[in-house]
Subunit: 450 residues, 4 copies
Amino acid sequence: MTRLIDSLSTTDALAELFSDHSMLQAMLTFEVALARVEARRKIIPKSAAEEIAKAARPDAMDVSSMVQETRLSATPGVPLVKALTQLVRTKNPVAAGYVHWGATSQDACDTALVLLLKRAQPILESDLLRLEKLLRRLADQHGQTVMPGRTLLQAAGPITFGLKVAGWLAAIHRGHIRLKASFQESLLLQLGGATGTLAALGKDGIQIGKDLAKELGLNYPEAPWHAHRDRLANLLCSCGVLAGSLGKMARDISLLMQAEVAEAAERTGPGRGGSSSMPHKANPAGCTQALAAINGVPGMVSAFLSAMVQEQERAVGGWQSEWPIVAGVIQRTGLAVAAMAEAAEGLTINPARMRANLDATRGVIFAEKATMLLAGKIGRDAARKLVEEAVRRSSDEQRRFRSILSEMPEVRKHLDAAALRNLESPQQYLGVADEFRKRLVDSTKDSKES
Amino acid sequence: MTRLIDSLSTTDALAELFSDHSMLQAMLTFEVALARVEARRKIIPKSAAEEIAKAARPDAMDVSSMVQETRLSATPGVPLVKALTQLVRTKNPVAAGYVHWGATSQDACDTALVLLLKRAQPILESDLLRLEKLLRRLADQHGQTVMPGRTLLQAAGPITFGLKVAGWLAAIHRGHIRLKASFQESLLLQLGGATGTLAALGKDGIQIGKDLAKELGLNYPEAPWHAHRDRLANLLCSCGVLAGSLGKMARDISLLMQAEVAEAAERTGPGRGGSSSMPHKANPAGCTQALAAINGVPGMVSAFLSAMVQEQERAVGGWQSEWPIVAGVIQRTGLAVAAMAEAAEGLTINPARMRANLDATRGVIFAEKATMLLAGKIGRDAARKLVEEAVRRSSDEQRRFRSILSEMPEVRKHLDAAALRNLESPQQYLGVADEFRKRLVDSTKDSKES
Amino acid sequence: MTRLIDSLSTTDALAELFSDHSMLQAMLTFEVALARVEARRKIIPKSAAEEIAKAARPDAMDVSSMVQETRLSATPGVPLVKALTQLVRTKNPVAAGYVHWGATSQDACDTALVLLLKRAQPILESDLLRLEKLLRRLADQHGQTVMPGRTLLQAAGPITFGLKVAGWLAAIHRGHIRLKASFQESLLLQLGGATGTLAALGKDGIQIGKDLAKELGLNYPEAPWHAHRDRLANLLCSCGVLAGSLGKMARDISLLMQAEVAEAAERTGPGRGGSSSMPHKANPAGCTQALAAINGVPGMVSAFLSAMVQEQERAVGGWQSEWPIVAGVIQRTGLAVAAMAEAAEGLTINPARMRANLDATRGVIFAEKATMLLAGKIGRDAARKLVEEAVRRSSDEQRRFRSILSEMPEVRKHLDAAALRNLESPQQYLGVADEFRKRLVDSTKDSKES
Amino acid sequence: MTRLIDSLSTTDALAELFSDHSMLQAMLTFEVALARVEARRKIIPKSAAEEIAKAARPDAMDVSSMVQETRLSATPGVPLVKALTQLVRTKNPVAAGYVHWGATSQDACDTALVLLLKRAQPILESDLLRLEKLLRRLADQHGQTVMPGRTLLQAAGPITFGLKVAGWLAAIHRGHIRLKASFQESLLLQLGGATGTLAALGKDGIQIGKDLAKELGLNYPEAPWHAHRDRLANLLCSCGVLAGSLGKMARDISLLMQAEVAEAAERTGPGRGGSSSMPHKANPAGCTQALAAINGVPGMVSAFLSAMVQEQERAVGGWQSEWPIVAGVIQRTGLAVAAMAEAAEGLTINPARMRANLDATRGVIFAEKATMLLAGKIGRDAARKLVEEAVRRSSDEQRRFRSILSEMPEVRKHLDAAALRNLESPQQYLGVADEFRKRLVDSTKDSKES
């Protein structure tokens, strides 16, 4: 189902969700439910509703000509209603007159989009739950796995891999919570008729609307939202923020996978992470998928936000631009979640290499620690001066930092052999890393897990 | 305080908030509170904390050289700490050694930003409350003021101005609620030390952090968030969504103010809405301000989202790009709120012109209604055919729609004189406009109002 | 071919261009030409090249599994080469060993994209030429058609419709010229092998590259551009700028089509511009298409620009995100051009209504003129004061501006009856509108026209 | 002059360019030149022009109240003209009447912006020339410096550092050429009067315009461009594309500077690249500046492109949003250029480490080469199978690739000892790297260099 060009911007399940068949089905679901509800309230004949339900088959519709007519009328709702009416008419001309009764084309289009979003939510959330579970496990396993922290891509003091994972986890979890709330807020019926007053339904409008929302499993809003797109905008923003957190995790892993760092590796295997020219490559395929997918998201979010400035009761262009943008953001976010779940599942960690990379700094990453130890004795200015001298010599002479320090009389005066021995122990310079790790993991415990 | 170039992208209060003095003050507030808290916990001498507090004056700092050093060190935190240390040193060299004890420059920068956001919140919210109050009043006053609905900028069936206003109001109110929640989530202390473990503070890190958060009136997070920017991203998104809703209102009003429409007008007056070349102009100055301000917002939101993909424990570029982007979004959103409050306050509505514009359509906007009335009798296909013929003739002959209809035998058979007389009564074709209006207004009643 | 969801974001021809079949064909065209060129230079056997050419049929490939493998390898090049090799192998196992000889998957993907862009260029350009020709005609026809200028959506002094059209034309023409140059710059072979040195081809690399470029009708660059995407970025920017100019035209026309303005109308007809609920509507369908299409463009341009920051010799994510973004921008721009050509072709202008809208201002749009006339006599301050008074009275009393002026003694002293009579003649207050119109039209005469 | 918040988003020179004083000066330069030109053509008195010139001093103006009035009138042009008029009036009331004669406020604002852009051009270009010169030198010095190519951040076959630098250089040079052309196209006078017809200047409009352009050192366009912003858009796009190429270079260098890679280093020194908490850090300060600066650029470019859809003869919001966006893009691009010139100047290269990193791959990066060598003998499928086996064993056993190969009988049959010895020689697997390097460098030779 996924087009080749979209391989790295959607999952198959989400590509299917926005396929012609699925979109037609969603619009037809709206029309059938509308007819059914109106029949129940005796606004249209029961038989008409039945005929409409029978005729409403996506396969009976000619997408190619609907596309043309969508352009001519600037909305897919018009040809949809026309095609459905035509299908009904061949069976029952009277019933055909009751298709789409009292609604406008935006009602069908917007509600269809919402129905699709309702189906997108569990797809994204189940991958999120899987990812979070995997990350919780990793964070727990690696609470004591020390590694270099890295700031501005330079080695800094030690952290634990568990803390790093817990950071990813908590951010993704917060993104998940926001996403869930945004979906919740957005899963609303749109039914407003031509100008949002439901004038064609007289005084029954709200009752019909409530019935229809119930029939479709959607919430009923205070009023139609045909020109107010803030809830969809907020949903896309939630995707954008989540995508950012997924991208951060992907960026981190791809950096840890560099040959020169080699602290982590995605699973490789037949066809996975390979290269057409280089048989030795073990590429960060999951991270690449995720980063490729999310690359388009911020721009699409901004496109939607720009389009919110919609004219009066229905926009010229703003509204009509939304479908592919919403679908694009949802699909890209979904692929990023799936790819990172896949990456997390197959992730191999190399604690020995982490330790070796720490050691390879010759101890200079403990310069802050040495400064703090000395500062208590001789003041920070003096301490910093001594330490900077030792760092410089460690680099020039390619010798360990503590060896240099141990040769400096001013240092020996204040730090004894034991202190110097412990100086470069990463385990003794982790501060409250593990408390932070636990607090982060605990903050994610509200996710449902099977 | 506002620079000329920023006249249409900030308010004075928000420009002041991000001024040199204010930013220095915020960073110094962090440093002073940190020292105070550390002194209280006996980590540094009490006298050092006092000296630090005394020295921490923005006016004593040389912004110009701090800017240079910010570039050299790629963070404003480094020169800030250096300058403060220097100021303390001139009074008390020992105390100077305790400046910024255990913290890293990002701690000072991020917490300073949060302190400024905390001050931005009431500025935005008070204008939002004012705007919402004005809109509630307008929505109530104009519950029965009929006007043409407009879709794709074409005249459609009637709505009420009250319903239109209620739509603006509810969207802005939802934006307000989201903004408040996003601020709430974001007002967190950042204190992580060099790599986010608070290693330099040993086992006291979390306690110091909690004390410091309390001292600064901020919440304490599960862990430092130096590399996880989702909460700020979400705050900017909330601004982006709110800005979109404000822009929609501004767009609508500017369209209603067109000479040919003339249904609404912003207040004019000395210097307001004028033109340097055209003495007669009465420009939509508030709407223009709002639209100018928000124009940059979606792109800035996307910049922030893109920058979330931050490397390891501190990014190369992503983090360092945030300050002006956050400030840009907050200031633009703030100006848009202020401008729309101003516009709403001075808004003049012209119900007679609304009615005249309805009438000028010669009744063809009731084509839907006529179709629905006839469809019940002769089926929709036949009804639509008759109505389309009448619409065409109304246009060709420039005569009223109902006059044409009344001459069509097929129509007269089914619609009596009374039905035709009422056909073009907008009040009788408002559906549930007023219920929707009330539901929208009611949904905003949780805002605190004085 | 166009998917329903993309109805308002592509044309059929451009949708076809980025279809699975077309993309496979383009990649296979690269592989076949590569083999052919290598055979000619005796790097691979002639028979292998022939087998490869025979096997390279898109229809023989399983897109669905290629999509899966694209995700696993994070590039569509890997499964393409694998599938082609497999197809060749079934016929001739030896020949299979020569598929993709010396190239890397990015070479196939990038060159395929360029081959598609080469086909996109005439599609966009032929619609552009058509649009420019129509606009030139309109600009010539309406050189004397006066209408109100409008600034900030308020009536201002008179312009001609011809000048307005000439403004659209010249901007679109400049966009066309830039687009053409950007295409020209971008239509380059990509052939670099694994790391951009063509190491696997030994010393023949550049010769093979030149042959291959010639074979494919592309230019040969100084070097492979696998990690330098500025030329594609510039192409997308050119689309973005052109889209902006098309959107400006669409926005203008949709505003002129408002019922209350009614100075222009797009062609209506069966299915065109209609509404599912409102039989009377004549929507700006072409403008809506164009505005919907271009709405996504700026965000996509920004996504591509952000992705330019690609790591070393091949990016992690940045490169892999490009295909749908490039295709999205090209398709949207193409639809906008086509839609505006369509709109221009069917555009009806209503000079009488333009004149009536000018008159409806009661002459106050000539306030600038009156000021200028009086300023020469009594100084501008005094003149402006008088004129503002007259404007105010004209509005309050709903009387013509010149009638008010003619009653003001201070005015009568300086302006005689003839001057006042002519004051409100739009033809006499057009300045150099027609010279500007001609200069604009002349600046576009370099477009080839049949 | 630079504000603290903008430290990483502008240079001092460019901050100064968009300061209040500079912007006022630019607008006043327009007004003075207009008056002078009009006096020369006897449209206004010579004495008025002289008074205007004398009064036009930025320091005499109250920016704070101009900001307020800019908001009220939604353009800075209105208060500028008012303030200038007031200053002239105190000296000569008659002359005051001739301020801004025949122009509109947008004329002053747009032309002022262009005058500032004209001054920005040499600032950016001189840093570009410096950067290009440094890169040319580096590319020449390192034509034979081998290093690992890296794709998807994984080690790939060898390249030369000279080739990498030449790639940066050529892309930046192309960006420079585009930028120069965009500036050239944009440096146009704007003079259109109220609606773009110069009606207030009668038949003299074009002559005045030409004189004024000449006076200001600008080109004269075909017509006013008040509502057509494509040339500015294109200038911003050129900045965006150049920024992307600068960011690519910065990203590459920051990756090469990682402790574990250590192939390059920016200059460190007092205050440069340091950390407030970690005395040992040598951060990529120039790269960070550049990446921070350009992070906001794509979003700002998209904001400008979105704003191009401007209404009729002057937009509501679109136009008024431009100033800070144009300034933001120019300043960020300027800082990125300056920062990369600085980084390039102090860049230290470590060829030994490059070689060591190549060696540390145990030769598996020559897997492609081994495959190609064997493929000629036994077919590629068989070759790839053997090589994959050898790669796997090299990894499992942590032994050199060629040692493994030399133990494989099937390999020994086809590759003799010499072939195996040479297999891992990077110099012998550089393909046409050096020809590409030279071609790239040569393509940049058109830049003027002193």
